[in-house]
């Protein structure tokens, strides 16, 4: 079972954790991304996230489907937020439950690594002296 959500308000770890709960689960691994206060030593004020929404949801679902199959996951929940986020707020949560714990770590890491490569979501970092689209340039 897969739960994909793209939201413009607060993400809650408890929601993802509740979705992946299963009597057959021996381990659940949850990745919680948070907005860091600095990038390469430069103070970050806030972030803006925007998404090409229908495709972002499709791509997140693809990732979850691939992880379900590759790691024999029981349930996967991926929530991503868009809009303006302050330091410490949560842009992404990924929860994966599996019968054995090693697969949960692998599957969760696969999901976040792949999400960062393929899902059409963009973030702009705001500094005191300007702003930049993250990863846009080599």
């Amino acid at each position: 079972m897969i739960d994909i959500q793209l939201k413009d308000n607060e993400l809650k770890t408890a929601d993802c954790e509740a979705f992946v709960a299963s009597d057959a689960a021996g381990g659940t691994v949850i990745f919680v991304g948070t907005v860091r206060n600095q990038t390469k030593g430069k103070k970050v004020l806030r972030l803006d996230f925007e998404a090409y929404k229908p495709m972002a949801i499709k791509e997140m679902r693809k990732i979850a489907e691939q992880a379900m199959q590759q790691f024999d996951a029981l349930k996967i929940s991926i929530h991503h937020r868009v809009g303006t986020l302050q330091i410490g707020e949560i842009p992404v949560i990924i929860a994966v439950s599996t019968p054995h714990r090693a697969a949960a770590f692998e599957a969760c890491q696969y999901c976040i690594d792949t999400l960062k490569e393929t899902v059409p979501i963009w973030k702009k970092e705001y500094f005191e002296d300007g702003e930049v689209w993250v990863a846009a340039h080599p």
Binding site: E50, A56, V92, W133
Partner: protein
């Protein structure tokens, strides 16, 4: 051939608009669109990557475009 460009993130800044009609003068593939687009907007060449989506799916260089296709410009993603 006219197509409808949709641009996000830095691609929107480069294009100057989030949506824009584009007259593809030569050819009808993603590769040819990319060439014409970067020739008109050289800043696209400076990006770490430049991909295109049609029908909410990444399409390869040899994908054949049709009149009035909606083509989404995907600059380097940075979600998560």
């Amino acid at each position: 051939m006219n197509i409808n460009l949709v641009a996000f993130g830095i691609a929107r800044d480069i294009l100057g608009n989030s949506t824009q009609k584009f007259d593809l003068k030569k050819g009808n593939t993603i590769e040819e669109l990319k060439a014409e687009l970067t020739s008109e907007f050289p800043k696209f060449e400076e990006l770490a990557s430049l991909k295109f989506a049609v029908n909410e799916t990444y399409q390869q260089d040899d994908f054949l475009l049709s009149e009035n296709d909606e083509v989404v410009i995907i600059p380097p993603v940075s979600g998560g």
